[in-house]
């Protein structure tokens, strides 16, 4: 892909809209407040500001890549279109019955989240496909027409169609779509065999409903955005970041808006993957900590780990099962309620608990002096000397340590007979331990050992906590890249054009059907490549083949990557060998005598990754200049130590600061524990390693 010289990355987040313009590889960035009522206004505003900084006009921009939380927020806040579902007779309540279980065992007053569509908006039609894709009961067009008449009377703006086993045989869904198109040409239609052709009706129906629900809103927004940008003189194409870490056209995005969910965090993971490539790191843990949540993602061989299903809009302490499942290709992350604004309290067991409730930006932590009474993680960080009260956010927000002490004493210290410092230490340790535990469980689910990993930290609060997290996880190396505050928007500019097509088809290796596999994978490749071609007419397009396999009888498939040759000349012995190899890696040992089956087939078409120049790493022999000292609480030592203070902007390539040290910059502060040293690398990354080690 020929990289255009002026590119704009835009990330609309909950609080800020981040805009990054890269001109011949040099970045210019700005954060502006998100304008909820018309999000495009913030983009236009930010775009003009970065254009001015870079000395270009909007007309000179060659490419815009955009990611947004609007789709996610519409689902969380239930602000979608008036939507109906047409589903198979006998299965009206699939999206409401969920898994028939309680995601929290120990709450008698638990309520489950309402489905996106209440029961009266779900219509059923006779017609049935079986598990082999064979039609058991025909669908009657006249019955479909009668239902569509009811939908017309109800004034619905969008319709989702989800039928049992449609991922194997979509003809009934297509019939419903055709009738809708004929009778209601102005109503948006989404069918599950196109949006998410995967087995498991609850996930698939929920995904198609979510797509339908946000489709009119997103189509309208994307249309307005295009018009506004045109009005401002922009003439280039606009692309959208999707949840799988690639970029798709604005038309694909409007058709499949559910694929935009979590596109911001996906950009962050791509950003971290790019740093990993610069350093040639094959095992990276990306750690993104902001005001309300922390996100953790595993990046292997410079590629973020992906998954086929994830949960959006968790309603209960970020607990698994309390949200709605969306089955689309997605970068696999754990998100927990741990951020700078997370509030601390003491529970019935006399234990400190932190989050998931957050102070937000109003009133904010107690130290903001805006009448926040309860202590947040930022208050603990301030008391422990991690933040400079006079120089927070580049001096734009003055912090009040006394307010932090009072809040911590009142809500934590006096209840536990601890002074403010010990209580602050408790808060910091608990939030760090929560994040470390989330990372550990995520690693074990993926059969990984974190001690072999390098951490890459970004987001406002991450540099304050990453050092201690590394100590807890046994991670020896930590990189804090420059531009960490707008990491997602930078990540958009590093993402390839890509589209993943997948389908559920069951096949046991004992019934291996080579020609069928070849034809299935060829179809998926053609579908995925077609989407990418609409974005980029000239670049070569690579295909990545993946099948999901398990022992017959197991419930969890594991993804097995295949080479193009293995995929196009399929052979049972090779598939088996590849499965056993990966299974053994994950779970320690294979299981003798069991049949193996394939459940999902997937092809990801992508433009080749940008060539990344390796950083000439320095071992940091020169001593960095200190600008002062301060008392800094060291978690491992459990007490205050005297730490140097170093300005990040003063550090030259190859300089080393010896921990404990606070490396300060405008956006945040990097805390280097006593067990570590910090080296400035040529690309501006602060490289934090075991004390005294050579890099």
């Amino acid at each position: 892909m020929a990289v255009p010289s002026v590119r704009l990355g835009v990330d609309i987040g909950g609080t800020f809209t981040d805009v990054v313009l890269e001109k011949d590889g040099v970045p210019f960035s700005i954060k502006v407040l998100t304008t909820y009522s018309a999000p495009e206004n913030a983009i236009i505003d930010g775009m003009h500001q970065v254009c001015a900084k870079a000395g270009v006009t909007p007309a000179q921009i060659d490419q815009i890549i955009h990611g947004t939380t609007l789709a996610t927020n519409a689902l969380i806040e239930r602000r979608g279109a008036k939507t109906a579902l047409i589903t198979t007779e006998g299965f009206r309540d699939v999206i409401e019955m969920r898994t028939e279980s309680r995601f929290e065992q120990y709450d008698l007053n638990l309520n489950l989240p309402d489905p996106l569509l209440p029961r009266q908006m779900r219509f059923t039609v006779a017609g049935r496909v079986d598990a082999n894709g064979k039609i058991l009961v025909d669908m009657d067009r006249a019955e479909v027409e009668a239902i569509v008449d009811q939908i017309a009377e109800g004034g619905f703006e969008s319709v989702a169609v989800g039928l049992i086993h449609s991922y194997l045989n979509p003809t009934h869904e297509q019939l419903v779509r055709d009738v809708l198109a004929e009778k209601l040409p102005n109503v948006a239609v989404s069918i599950s065999s196109e949006v998410s052709p995967q087995m498991r009706e609850y996930e698939r129906f929920n995904t198609v409903v979510a797509n339908a629900y946000i489709k009119p809103l997103m189509a309208s927004y994307l249309g307005r955005l295009g018009d506004r940008l045109n009005d401002e003189g922009v003439s280039c194409r606009i692309f959208l970041m999707h949840s799988g870490g690639g970029v798709i056209s604005i038309q694909n995005a409007a058709d499949f808006p559910v694929r935009l969910v979590e596109s911001g965090p996906a950009g962050g993971a791509v950003f971290a993957a790019h740093i990993a490539a610069r350093y040639g790191l094959d095992k990276v843990l990306s750690f993104d900590m902001g005001g309300t949540t922390a996100k953790i993602c595993l990046i292997k061989n410079q590629t973020p780990k992906t998954s086929r299903v994830f949960e959006v809009a968790r309603t209960y302490r970020f607990k698994k099962g309390s949200g709605m499942p969306i089955s689309i290709p997605v970068i696999d992350m754990v998100e927990i309620g741990a951020g700078g604004g997370s509030l601390a309290h003491v529970d019935a067991l006399q234990q400190i608990r932190v989050g998931p409730k957050s102070a937000g930006s109003e009133p904010g932590p107690a130290c903001y002096g805006r009448h926040g009474k309860r202590p947040a993680v930022t208050d603990a960080d301030l008391v422990l000397g991690k933040l400079d009260p006079e120089n927070f956010a580049g001096g734009s927000i003055k912090l009040f340590p006394d307010a932090s002490c009072i809040a911590i004493a009142e809500y934590v210290g006096t209840k536990l007979d601890m002074d403010a410092v010990e209580a602050a230490f408790g808060i910091a340790e608990v939030v760090d331990e929560n994040m470390a535990n989330a990372a550990r469980v995520h690693a074990v689910e993926n059969g990984e050992d974190l001690s072999e990993y390098t951490m890459i930290a970004f987001g406002g609060a991450a540099p304050l906590h990453a050092g201690r997290l590394c100590e807890k996880l046994g991670v020896e190396r930590l990189l804090v890249p420059p531009g960490a505050g707008v990491g997602s928007a930078i990540g958009f500019l590093r993402a390839p054009f890509s589209f993943e097509a997948n389908r559920s088809v069951y096949m046991k290796l004992s019934d291996f059907d080579g020609p069928r596999i070849k034809s299935l994978l060829s179809d998926l490749k053609a579908e995925a490549t077609g989407f990418v071609r609409t974005c980029d007419a000239v670049s070569p397009i690579l295909s990545e083949f993946k099948v999901y396999m398990r022992y017959t009888g197991q419930g969890w498939e594991i993804p097995i990557a295949l080479t193009e040759d293995q995929a196009m000349n399929p052979d049972a012995a090779t598939f088996e060998a590849r499965f056993i190899e990966d299974y053994t890696k994950l779970f320690g040992r294979p299981v003798a005598g069991m049949d193996i089956e394939i459940t999902v087939w997937s092809v990801n078409a992508t433009t080749p990754p940008e060539k990344v120049a390796r950083v000439a790493e320095t071992s940091g022999k020169a001593q960095a200049t200190t600008v002062g000292g301060r008392d800094l609480f060291d978690g491992a030592a459990g007490k205050f130590l005297i730490a140097d203070v170093v300005n990040r902007s003063d550090m030259s390539t190859g300089e080393r600061a010896v921990g404990p040290v606070a490396v300060v910059e405008n956006e945040t502060t990097i805390i280097v524990p006593a067990s570590r040293d910090a080296i400035r690398q040529p690309d501006g990354c602060i490289d934090i390693i075991i004390k005294g080690a050579d890099q």
Binding site: A84, G90, M97, T99, W556, V591
Partner: protein, 569 residues
């Protein structure tokens, strides 16, 4: 001696141990073969000190394992003998009385050594597919017919697996590869817990768990006793009836809040049933304890100290204290009703806290499909066993409606019907909510569900039904109405039983309606808005809205018009 640690460090360690057992459980979910583990979450995992006191336990789908797991490790220590415990050992049992209540649960225990010394134990339990015998069902007359019995013994001795034992196991079960796979998965899951524990001990320079064990147990005991002390110190009796197998079963319980303990005494409950729905005491205790703990101390993590104050008593060979060799394979049916019985009593001690009765036991059934025998079967017809987990409605809560088609007290999940239909030549024709099945009340009972099951062309089948509440629907509380009972019949109208194996001929379907939860409080106090909402959603019919809630004909017409207009209400 370990060095002294701060309160902050101990808190971090406690959190860590809880995370360790969650990791342990996750590893099992990912590698197990048994559907009940991987799809339904029927497993448990815990960490123990050297004396066998449980320090932390993963929260999984089955409260039934809670106390059973807590009690199991001391049995292992006693049976194996302290002098015989070595690094590299792994122990095993499926003893219903020293494990978790039936032969289909395998419990494995691994001692954890650090610096050459025993520092603790890890244990885990999983419900496995098959253990031989008559297969999973209530049909046995004694535990001897229910399958292979593995007494507490070494699976591995100093790292060496007992091949004689694995050959005996392989020779006695229907799916030997799966079962051996599950046993290894259990061993691996303990190993993962052990490694994490040793990491933690190294990080905090611990040589033993004494300090952290004391911190956990003292804090948990204190917090639990505070909750009990805050309750009225009195006793009350509850009673309920369930269908049983051939004759009704009475569960009678006297709950006494008594200073530093709560005792549930089941004197007066029915004696043993002839069929395998009897419940060992440890399993009944788990559900009695769960019912009380979720009501009064839900956020206190499960461990030896937080569970100890919840005591149980029951006469020997009563239905909730079945002794060897009573058949116990489906002990979950009685176990799942224990909370309803306990709540009937506890509501008299603390009004306004506990829910009305719900569906109770899971509405599970297994179908055994085979080529049709009444006429020539097609060539591709095959045999297959398909087990499904399903739920009725839960009981209305004082301030909230019951949950529709959601398990309580069990926490297991259902399977997608698309996955079920891949498991064998079965067709699920219907699985959706059952309107009008939730008991009326100020808060309404949760809806049950309809299911309809048949076979692919060319097959006939037996259905093993495990349903209750056919004759004894959930009873309302404080003026609330009863939930709808279970019904089961063939699609031609021929009658079927709620329990037992029954034949279904080629071309026939089984039509089932699973029970609703009961209502709470007087229906006339229910808010009109909620009645209208329920009508709009079709949770209740117009007839029920009028009859049970006095909704006027004009209001009903208004709701129906709004639905036609596509309004949400």
């Amino acid at each position: 001696m370990s060095k002294q640690h701060s309160k902050v460090a101990y808190q971090v360690m406690w959190n860590r141990l809880i995370s360790v057992v969650e990791e342990q459980a996750q590893a099992l979910v990912r590698t197990a073969f048994s559907t009940s583990v991987r799809e339904a979450g029927d497993l448990s995992a815990g960490v123990y000190d050297v004396d066998g006191n449980m320090l932390a336990q993963a929260v999984t789908g089955t409260p039934g394992h809670v106390n059973a797991m807590a009690d199991a490790v001391p049995h292992f220590i006693r049976r194996i003998g302290r002098d015989n415990i070595h690094d590299g050992d792994v122990y095993i049992t499926n003893d219903p009385w020293e494990g978790t209540g039936h032969l289909h649960d395998i419990t494995m225990v691994t001692p954890s050594f650090h610096g050459g010394a025993l520092v603790g134990f890890f244990a885990c339990t999983a419900h496995i597919v098959d253990i031989g015998g008559r297969g999973f069902g209530a049909d046995a007359h004694s535990v001897y017919e229910e399958g292979l019995y593995i007494p507490i013994m070494k699976f591995a001795d100093k790292g060496k697996v007992d091949e004689t034992l694995t050959r005996i196991i392989r020779g006695n079960v229907r799916e030997p590869d799966q079962l051996i796979g599950d046993i290894y998965a259990l061993a691996t899951c303990n190993e993962i817990g052990h490694r994490r524990l040793i990491d933690m001990m190294a990080e905090f320079s611990l040589t033993d768990l004494n300090g952290i064990a004391e911190f956990i147990l003292v804090n948990s005991r204190r917090a639990t006793l505070e909750r009990i002390a805050a309750l009225p110190q009195q006793s009350a009796t509850g009673e309920m009836k369930m269908d049983g197998f051939d004759r009704p079963i009475t569960l009678k319980v006297k709950v006494s809040v008594d200073g530093d303990r709560i005792v549930s005494d089941f004197t007066g409950s029915s004696g043993l049933d002839k069929k395998g729905i009897n419940c060992p005491l440890v399993y009944a205790k788990a559900y009695a304890c769960y019912a009380l703990k979720v009501a009064i101390a839900p956020e206190i993590p499960n461990n030896a100290a937080s569970l100890a104050p919840f005591e149980i008593e029951a006469p020997e060979n009563s239905i909730v204290n079945a002794l060897h060799p009573a058949p116990v394979a489906l002990r979950h049916i009685v176990g799942h009703f224990v909370p309803d019985a306990v709540y009937d009593a506890f509501d008299k001690i603390v009004p306004g806290l506990v829910p009305a009765e719900g569906a109770g036991c899971l509405c599970n059934f297994q179908v055994s499909l085979r080529p049709r025998t009444d006429a020539p079967a097609p060539e591709d017809a095959r045999r297959s066993e398909v087990l499904t987990f399903n739920s009725g409605g839960s009981g209305a809560r004082p301030e909230h409606d019951g949950l529709n088609a959601t398990a309580f007290p069990s926490g297991v999940m259902t399977m997608p019907i698309e996955a079920t239909e891949h498991a064998g030549p079965v067709i699920i024709w219907r699985k959706e909510l059952r309107p009008d099945s939730g008991g009326a009340g100020k808060t309404r009972g949760g809806l049950g569900q309809y299911m309809e099951v048949g076979a692919q062309e060319g097959h006939e089948f037996d259905i093993q039904a495990m349903f209750d509440r056919v004759e004894h629907p959930a009873r309302g509380r404080r003026g609330g109405g009863a939930g709808a009972p279970t019904t089961i019949a063939q699609d031609d109208g021929s009658a079927m039983n709620g329990k037992g194996k029954q034949f279904v001929a080629h071309g026939r379907r089984v039509v089932m309606a699973f029970p609703g939860g009961a209502g709470y409080g007087d229906p006339s106090e229910r808010s009109v808005e909620l009645v209208k909402r329920d009508l709009a959603r079709g949770y209740i019919s117009a007839e029920t809205a009028s009859k049970n809630y006095n909704l006027s004909a004009a209001d009903i017409a208004e709701v129906q018009a709004a639905v036609a207009r596509g309004d949400a209400l």
